[in-house]
Amino acid sequence: MAKTVDECQVAIIGGGIIGCFIGYYLSARGMDVVVIEKADLCSGATGANDACLMAQSKKPGPKLDMAVESAHMFETLADELDYDIEYVRKGSMIIQETEEEAQAMREFCTAQKDAGLPVEFLDQRETHRAQPCLSDHIIGSTVCPLDGEVNPFALLVALDRAIRRYGGRIMTNAPVVGFEVAGNRVTEVATDRGNVRADVVVCAAGAYAPLIGNMLRIEIPIRPRRGQILITEPIAPLIGAYVMSAKAIAAKHRAVAVHENNSGKDDPMQFGLGMIISQTVNGNMVLGVTHEFVGYDAGTSIRGLGSIARYTSTIIPALKGVNVIRTLAGLRPFSEVGGPVIGPIGEYANFIVVTGHEGDGVAVAPSTAKGVADKIASGAWG
């Protein structure tokens, strides 16, 4: 048996947004935690993030509730963590390019309004008055003032410091290589840097969760889905609310005919799926994002980047002349079961899985993590 280098109440596998938030809420309650990260904090999907916290893209139900609850939690997080996480609430805008999309959004947002989400309908004139940079062909939009943006890097630094303040430990460059078990309990997490003995083990490894599950012969229904993003040079304020396309929502929720743009048949942005345009506090434009199943390849591709640049430039023509300075890609945890995978899984009662939020990890992390921490601290899980 490998050497035991640390002992704790809860070992958390994964130093991304979900793992660190769980670590924070547990340690704030006085529990002893160790976060185990294979590379560096924020090196996976959290670090390849569009920074937008979206409630408006969700239909009424648990996901919307989690996003709304998290949005309220974000209001006080900077104070609570005593760190500037660059949380700003400029709202979100979902633009419509066709009459079908407008119709789909009328139904979609009416249901959201009925569920209590603040959403406003803007006609063509109001839309262009709100965001003059938009292309003339945009016929309308919906706006949700509750939606905000956060700097995920700053947020992780804040959580890292808070966990350490409470006495928790962060192990980086420590890939998990196996487990020690006794009966229906996982007793130790084995890493490249030694074993961590724990009463409860949380697997918040995002898209890599199935690989961790394999070590215990547990099947976790998650697939890596790649998202590529372009970052431009900082420019003067161009947009207020971040901009999304109604195409994805129209396609997903109403199965209406979706018009192809002229960008080719198997173009990753062909349906505008997940299109996002935002501007950071620094002024950089963030343009995204693809949704691709390419296994565990976290590289960028000319095909993906080209399609993002083409599509976003049709929405905001001024983007054409802005310089791209950086590109990134991350593997998001796509759930095969239609929603996040949260709770004890398999034969081990103290092995808790928390993943499967795909592109919504940051938006729902506070409420998700608080819920998980409550279950573990109360003894309901573990």
């Binding site: 560096d40 890097f153 960028t300 976003t312 430039s313 002349g321 791209v324």
Partner: protein
């Protein structure tokens, strides 16, 4: 270490000092990429053109490693700033 060294500007684009880089390393950053994520060093217009070698030297010194042993930053398109319009001209069949 003298005061002037502590306030020496390492990343000009994002305005980070040598002291801030050393602080990030002391907080657990072990790679250039980790320092970049934590501090924004190398995230500006020049994308690390100036500061990358300086930060590697500091990292080597702080961790007692040789510069050649350090994990290089992830290299991705583009090498230098390129207009979004030109990125949009890139099509299938070309590899990054």
């Amino acid at each position: 270490m003298s005061d002037s060294k502590e306030s020496c500007l390492v990343c000009r684009c994002e305005e980070l000092t040598e002291d801030e880089i050393r602080q990030a390393i002391r907080e657990g950053c072990t790679t250039l990429t980790a320092i970049k994520r934590r501090t924004r060093a190398g995230m500006g217009l020049c994308q690390g053109g100036t500061c990358q070698r300086l930060i590697l030297a500091i990292l080597a010194q702080e961790t007692g490693q040789d510069v050649a042993e350090l994990v290089p930053d992830t290299s991705r398109f583009p090498v230098r700033p390129i207009r979004a319009e030109l990125v949009g001209d890139l099509r299938d069949g070309e590899d990054s």
